[in-house]
Symmetry: D3
Subunit: 173 residues, 6 copies
């Protein structure tokens, strides 16, 4: 129970990659963390890709980065939806800037681009958005998992078995 | 990497519960196990519920219980399909009878009913199939996870965070 | 109009086999019976497999076996849903025990398992659930239609052309 | 077994109304008829509305009206597809003109319009195509089932319990 | 902006052909017309074929032909739905009879059949409904676009690039 | 026929926005242009969002910018797919750099980001990708259509009626 007492937000919007949402969700619970599903506020239930539904526990504008020990952002096209909501972008920006663990996988790098927090940071992402991540100022590397201080990033669902140990390690401090 | 060197079969057929397949799949990989997806042999790719596809690595009649340290059976309606294939049922029966770890969740108890290995064993299952499990001779209890020697059983996807530590513990011996 | 004056319940829940619901439904009407669609009470409209919708006339806990001359239970995975509702199981148990005609096809045998009324009865079912039916105490035979006093059972939609004459014959007395 | 020795064609194309196909299909089998599913020849399997698949036994241009004692045409939008295939239209025209029983329900009247056989005949149909049926020369009435010598017609699936006895009566002669 | 000041109704019901709805919709806007989506009144939003949704601005019984300079009717199976609503049929009949431009493509000819306005008119349509159009009294020709005074007709989405210039030309007078 | 003799490529990949593909497709044909559908080469047929299928005439690596007078890029999530194929990105880069008309709408701006051709250019896009477009060096404005020499950009399907006249004007020179 290495995350006993830790509280982690998982962000959600439509078209979230179901593997990248559900594996971290159950894995963090297994590790003893309290998990809070944070939606954009646009509605209360969201549909993944492929289709599975998840209810948000709370909307982004009702929480703040200070409430959490870390934030996990799943990929799919959900990050393209999330970045349209300033409260979600602010939650990520504040978490990064206050040194909280922020983990992102696949297309979730878009949220960090919009949060303006990638300048000089070493990260990875799904290769399709590499140009956007590089244009945002990051150093992009092609590795299964990259830990740069409080940032943990991976490329695809195949990286989940190394992504989550890194997330847990950084969270556990 | 507590399962380094262990080899585990996950059974698959159409309508497998996606949470109960994918969480054990990635979790066992994270723990260092070699994971083999074993299909019924009816076809090579199967579709979950809700829809996600998974390719089988091998068909049941091409492997035997002796090849594995354990077998994990996801629920959904897949077990109703699996039990129609004698090679799959035999794989489970042989695994149980030779003392290998056999883990089953939700509707997967049907496979143990058809394998004829529940007489006098203490297990749980999704409540809808309790009558079938009891008629097969088991002692049924309503607990999140039940370990009876080499048998590990749980009720629903909500039990996954306690199901997998039990699976790993029994596998790791 | 050999069923003039007879009243028959057809049970329904999600994932009912559409052939096994609609053929008996229209056939009983053609024969002059009054047909009542009885749902589990979980909701008022149910979706078949493949998809067609049917509205329940009434919920199981609002009727009793004494209201009907017979009960027809379609297959599909609907019986796995139906058996979760005690009022539906009781309706079937009471109907069998009071000598009313009870007809079941395909996976519908699960309802008789949960009703605890198969001990010593000769029946058939879809072959996938044979183990559950046998474990419940029945004598299982592989025939297109089996009539054992008030019980009428068949295996698959292909048996419908012999299932319904048997249902009508037993109902007509 | 009032139709023992009779051979009946049921026409099929995509978007056939599933109730209007399957009820006659099983009902004719129950009555002892030999049933042949005749497709347009465009492909070998067709999808109903809502979705169920049916394989054609034979294509329209490989049979002739002389091979059958009667033809049944289900509705849905399948008749809009069927009328594009001259062999299907000819099969219907020949059957009507040679005095074979021809039964049609719902939108199936379009096939009779294209076969040019409605002049002076008394029929019914789904109300939406009444104008086409009247323009083709028929006398249209709003009744659950209409028998005009060898023509049997009904309006909707709700009429199936009176449509099929009429079909059987005319076929049995 | 050759249609500045013109007001055009586009009719809509479920199963409208999406190409035949959306191309005229945007094209008329591009030409400067005011476009009003007129539904049957059965509901407020309709689903095309393949699936795209469109909201009706107004129901047919709340407008009259006098309100418009022209009416465009898309095909698909929507016309089979539209002709069930007397207010929609009247709108088309009045528009034709008062000399307003009426454009119809594919299966939309059914609406003109039900409006009783095809006697002696030269038109085209999807070939599947040619018999209905001819039975309604029209002279049917197989051309990409046919202009007969205020009537503009085409056969399929492939004809859209010649259909719309004809619609605009007749509308612009 | 203001585009007689002009040849225009429309790019396609899965999840193309159907309005943004089909309206330009038919509109360019109406204006007299030759339209070539250019796929990524990953497969030969692509599925839009919502679902409509389109066959590619040719793959990107079999054509070059010199073959065309202009390129149109629809939005949806197709551009996220397109940018994964270097031949598609090169086609866009070469077209922009050789002064050919390049039109992009909604999420299609991602292709220009990956082509590295936005430095100092004035464009618009769907607001969700504004950060990526700005990070790529563009001057982003919120207008229905923006013409910056050979670049034509719009925001959403609602802009199509002003987007296409701009495309045609720039193409016609």
């Amino acid at each position: 129970m290495e995350l006993k007492g830790k509280k982690v937000a998982i962000l959600v919007e439509d078209m979230f990659n179901i593997y990248e949402f559900w594996y971290p969700y159950y894995r963090l619970l297994e590790a003893g963390a309290e998990v809070v599903v944070v939606g954009s506020g646009r509605k209360s239930q969201f549909t993944g890709k492929p289709a599975t539904d998840v209810k948000a526990d709370v909307a982004a504008d009702a929480v703040s980065a200070a409430d959490f020990d870390g934030v996990v952002i799943p990929g799919g096209y959900a990050p393209d939806m999330m970045r349209r909501y300033p409260a979600m972008v602010k939650l990520v920006a504040d978490a990064v800037n206050s040194g909280k663990m922020v983990a992102f996988i696949c297309h979730a790098g878009w949220m960090l681009c919009s949060a303006g927090v990638l300048k000089g940071r070493k990260v990875t992402s799904y290769f399709a958005i590499k140009d956007d991540v590089v244009n945002a100022g990051a150093q992009w590397v092609d590795e299964a998992v990259v830990i740069d201080k409080n940032l943990v990033s991976s490329r695809t669902p195949d990286d989940l078995p190394v992504f989550m140990p890194a997330v847990i390690k950084v969270l556990a401090g």
